[in-house]
C-alpha cells in the first residue's frame, strides 16, 4: 500500500492521452454519426449504399484489428510515418474510435430522425422550407432529444474502448498501468493498480453521463417538454 501514490501518479500520466482519445473520438463520432445518419435517409440509392458499407464495415469488424490496420498496414502501404510518434499513434486511435463509434451513432441519428412525426416534415413543406431548412430547423432539434440517451451509452463505450489503444502503444492509462506489471516488486499490488484504473474510468463515465443528462434536459426544454420521463421516473423512485 505504501506505493499507492506511485501507482496513482503513473496511471494518471496516461490520463491526458485517455482524455484526448475520448474527447477526440467523441467529436469525430458526433460528426460522422450525423453525416452518415442523415445520408442513410438520402433519396439516392448510391449514397445510402456507400454509407451502408461504411456502417456495416466498421460495426462488423474487430476494433483491435482496425487499429492495427490503420497503424501498421496502412502506414506500410502508403509509406506514412504516422506510426512513429506517440502523437501520431494517438491520432490513429482517435480516427479508429471515431470511425467505429460513428458507425453505431449513424443508426442512432437515423432512428431519431425517423422518430420525428411525419407531420412535422409536412408542416415545414407547407411553409415552403428547403430540404436543408426542414432538417436543420425543424427535424433535428426534435430528434436530438431522442438521440442523447443512446449517445450517452455510446460515448461511455468509447471511453472504455480507449484502453484498446494500448495495443498500438498509445501511452494512455491502461498502457501506463500495464507497464507497472513488469516491475516484480509491485506484483502483490496489481489488484490496487487495476482498481485505481477501474475507479478512474468509472469517474470519467459519470462525468460523461452528467454532461449528457444536462444536455438532455436542455434539449427537452427546447422542444417544450419539461423533464424527460426517465428522470421523472427516477425522481419518483427516489421519493418512494
Amino acid at each position: 500500500m505504501e506505493n499507492f501514490s506511485i501507482y496513482l501518479e503513473r496511471v494518471l500520466e496516461g490520463l491526458p492521452a485517455t482524455l484526448w482519445a475520448t474527447g477526440g473520438g467523441i467529436a469525430l463520432t458526433i460528426v460522422l454519426s450525423f453525416l452518415a445518419g442523415i445520408a442513410l435517409l438520402s433519396p439516392s440509392r448510391t449514397v445510402r449504399g456507400l454509407v451502408r458499407i461504411y456502417v456495416e464495415g466498421f460495426r462488423g469488424s474487430s476494433e483491435v484489428v482496425q487499429l492495427f490496420f490503420f497503424a501498421v498496414a496502412l502506414a506500410i502501404f502508403f509509406g506514412l510515418p504516422w506510426n512513429q510518434t506517440a502523437e501520431g499513434l494517438l491520432l490513429i486511435g482517435i480516427i479508429v474510435l471515431g470511425l467505429n463509434h460513428g458507425a453505431y451513432g449513424a443508426e442512432i441519428v437515423r432512428g431519431a430522425v425517423q422518430s420525428v412525426p411525419k407531420a412535422q416534415r409536412e408542416g415545414a413543406i407547407a411553409l415552403n422550407f428547403t430540404p436543408v431548412q426542414r432538417m436543420w430547423r425543424i427535424i433535428l432539434p426534435q430528434a436530438v432529444v431522442e438521440m442523447l440517451p443512446p449517445f450517452n451509452n455510446l460515448f461511455i463505450q468509447l471511453l472504455k474502448g480507449t484502453a484498446l489503444l494500448s495495443f498500438i502503444t498509445v501511452p494512455e492509462m491502461f498502457q501506463k498501468a500495464d507497464e507497472l506489471r513488469a516491475v516484480p516488486s509491485f506484483a502483490n499490488d496489481l489488484w490496487i493498480i487495476y482498481l485505481i484504473l477501474l475507479v478512474i474510468y468509472m469517474l470519467l463515465a459519470v462525468v460523461i453521463t452528467l454532461v449528457m443528462r444536462w444536455l438532455e434536459s436542455l434539449a427537452a426544454r427546447r422542444v417544450g417538454r419539461s423533464v424527460p420521463s426517465r428522470e421523472k421516473a427516477l425522481a419518483r423512485g427516489a421519493a418512494a
Partner: protein
Amino acid sequence: MSEPSETNNEMIRFENVVKRFGSNTVLEDLNFTVAPGEFVTLIGPSGSGKTTILRLVMTLEKVSEGTIYVDGKPLSHMPKGGKLVPADEKYLREARKSIGMVFQQFNLFPNMNVLRNVTEGPIRSLGQSRDEAEKKAKDLLELVGLTDKIDARPTQLSGGQQQRVAIARALAMEPKVLLLDEVTSALDPELVTGVLHLLKDIANSTDITFLCVTHEMQFARDVSDRVMMFDGGQIVEDGHPEKIFTDPDHDRTREFLQAVLDRA
C-alpha cells in the same frame, strides 16, 4: 391581383388527375377547376380521396397521372423542352409559394414558441426581415385572438389555441390558396365553434381561394361558394351548398348527408 393570362379565372385546375397508392386507386381521372377567391368544400365518406386532393395541391403527394395547375402554372410538373416533366425541388419551391395549408393535427413546431412558429416561414421562405415578419405575425396573432400567448410553447396551448396559431402561421405566408384539412376534427367540441367563426371571418374578408375538407356541414353550408361531394375518388355532385344540402341530385349524396346527420 394576379397577372392577366388565359387562365386567370382559374386558381386551381385538376386535369385528368389519377392518384394511386400501390394497386389502390384513390383518385380516378379527376377534372375540376376552382375560381380565384372561391371557397370550395369537399365532402364525402372517409377514404373518398378528399384529403388526398389537398395533399396533392400542397405537393405532399405526387400525382400518378395527369396535371394540377395552380394560378395558371403546372404544379406537379414543370415545362422543359416543350414538354411537362416531373417537377424538381427548386421548381416546387417556387410553385408552393402561393399555397398554404392548415392541418388536422396543427403540425406546429414544438421547438419554437408561438411567435417563431408564425415568423419562421416568412423569414426563411419569403426572405422577410425579422422585424417585418414579427410585426405581421403580431397582427395575425391579434386577429386569431392570441396576443397574450406570443411567448408560449405550442405544448402549453389548448387544441383550439394551437389551431389558431396554425391558421395565423398559414396566413403569414400570404397564400393565394389556403387548404383546410379537417381543421376542427381533432378539437374538443366546445372549441370547434370559435375556430370555425374565425375561418368564416377570414374567408369573408380576404380574396384567398379556399379548398376545405370538413365534416362540419353547417359550416360548409354557411361559408362555401361551392360544395363537391366525393365518393370512390370521383366527384358525385358539384354545386351550390343550398342545393347540395337541401335538394341533392344524387342518392349517394343524400345517403351521406343523412348518415352525417344521424351521427350528430
